[in-house]
Symmetry: C2
Subunit: 315 residues, 2 copies
């Protein structure tokens, strides 16, 4: 279980955190002007290939290259005034997003990063002015280091995905997509920790929300089919943003919405990461390409007017 | 001199072709709904790097991957009703653009392609349903083959860049950019044959229009500085869309507007092709990256609110 599911340590003090569509609407007002309203692209080539009308919400073109800035900004803006610093653990986009959101709010940021994280991710965090605190690449070391940082600095922990403010912020991408191109029969979204998936499920309340997950990280599928949260699988998928286990709050939101999970093979994820560049002329990361890969691996599943949230572009 | 500067053979029968801003406005109305209104991206990272506020008009995200569909569509829609087929010569984007525009208008298209053209460009032309007619890779063979095709098929020649309808169509990209983000102090645009450059100069009539040209293909710079059209240089630049010599009509338009040409080195063009993917998460072709490369190679030249037309993304 990620540290983020312990409400006592989180930015929000509620012990039974809840979040609904109104929170997504409020988040959209709160973060307006601070994040990009990203473009929606279409492709007649891909429409013909999948037999559906596709609308791609390009969060790869978002500030810092991923939807994560939406949730981080929404969370930071709701911190009490006395807070002077934030902290989190991340080997990826959430660290950079929190670093940027904190800098713009005039806060210090401390990001706990495993020693095996990619240099480019670490460089992005430092470019946005945050302090990187290195730890051993284990869940235990991560939690212990974060706790130490919080004690030493007085920083407030902003969790990466399993938190109402993060979920509501993430849901604003689908909200914009629906405002511009709704109604949609389906909205496809990748699922890892589940913040984007849960936020999308709340925002797109009249669409089928379909979760795309790598076969090698199928804990969301297993959890939702079993009706109870299953532990994450070993972090082997190329879609590095989707290696995390599904968060507890996100599990309950996705379960209540009866969201279906469709799986994508590794070869298909790699293929669609490249194909998006060729056909759509955009750079997407494998986690984002998992949507198209799941669509290709499950022929006929995409139907009607279909939204697709391309979550990020940080390779 | 390209065949396209011979009005008698072109889609427009005027012997003294002229084109002005009203033609760009008319083109915008004519092609609306048939081409994408492409998104405009911004990047605080690049703004900080260049010391200017940059607005990127993403014609790489245009249909068939380049601005060329604007001019081709504008030209095809103005053909007399009796025309049943169009023809052109192209080793690149104009061939694919004309193929697509013709298909949508229910016309046949014949594209003369040199035998050394890249397989991917040829495949794009065929994917849009046009007939590819191969020729030897010389200007003479190209002109002779095109003439033969026109004689054999009765097709109307639609030239690639040096024609009022092509220029007016190309100018609609800058027009949209100005509608959404104007006024702009400068608009940067790559220059090869000069259709996009001339169209932009007409559309952006209150901005400085700055032409970005590869050092290895500096005939536009030499021509505008000499006050007379100079022949193209050997086709050596990596920016393959900019190897063509400046067209005669385009030369006169750009000369009248006193457009300045800034040069870009080959290494800089390659660097910025990659950097756009890293920072902006978009795929642009070297011809489009020539704008950023010229900006980097001429420090301080970009000033104020700056539009940049990223011409295409077909690698």
């Amino acid at each position: 279980m990620p540290a983020s599911s312990e409400p006592a340590a989180s930015a929000c003090g509620r012990t039974h955190p809840s979040v609904d569509r109104d929170d997504v609407l409020a988040a959209a007002r709160r973060i307006a002007g601070r994040v990009h309203r990203t473009p929606v692209l279409t492709s007649r080539t891909l429409d013909a290939e999948f037999g559906a009308k596709l609308f791609f919400k390009c969060e790869n073109l978002q500030r810092m290259g991923a939807f994560k800035i939406r949730g981080a900004t929404n969370a930071v803006l709701q911190l009490p005034r006395h807070v002077r610093a934030v902290a989190t653990h991340s080997s990826g986009n959430h660290g950079a997003a929190l670093a940027l959101a904190a800098r713009e709010a005039g806060l210090d940021a401390f990001i706990v990063v495993p020693s095996d994280a990619r240099a480019s991710k670490r460089a992005a965090i430092e470019r946005y002015g945050a302090s990187v605190v290195e730890c051993e690449p284990t869940l235990e070391a991560r939690a212990a280091t974060l706790e130490q940082v919080v004690q030493d600095t007085g920083a407030t922990f902003v969790p990466p995905y399993d938190h109402p403010h993060i979920i509501a912020g993430a849901g604003t991408a689908a909200l914009e997509l629906l405002e511009e191109h709704g109604p949609l029969d389906q909205v496809w979204v990748p699922v890892g920790g589940g913040g984007l998936a849960a936020g999308t499920a709340l925002a797109a309340d009249t669409s089928d929300v379909i979760l795309a997950e790598p076969e090698l990280a199928r804990d969301a599928k297993d959890s939702l089919e079993a009706g109870e949260l299953r532990p994450p699988l070993p972090p082997r998928t190329v879609a590095d943003g989707l290696r995390t286990g599904l968060g507890n709050l996100n599990f309950h939101i996705l379960r209540r919405r009866r969201c279906r999970v469709l799986l994508a093979s590794e070869s298909s994820i790699k293929h669609w990461t490249n194909r998006a560049a060729q056909v759509m002329k955009i750079v997407i990361e494998p986690s984002a390409a998992t949507t198209l890969a799941a669509m290709a691996d499950n022929p006929g599943a995409a139907r009607g007017r279909v939204g697709v949230v391309l979550s990020g572009g940080n390779l």
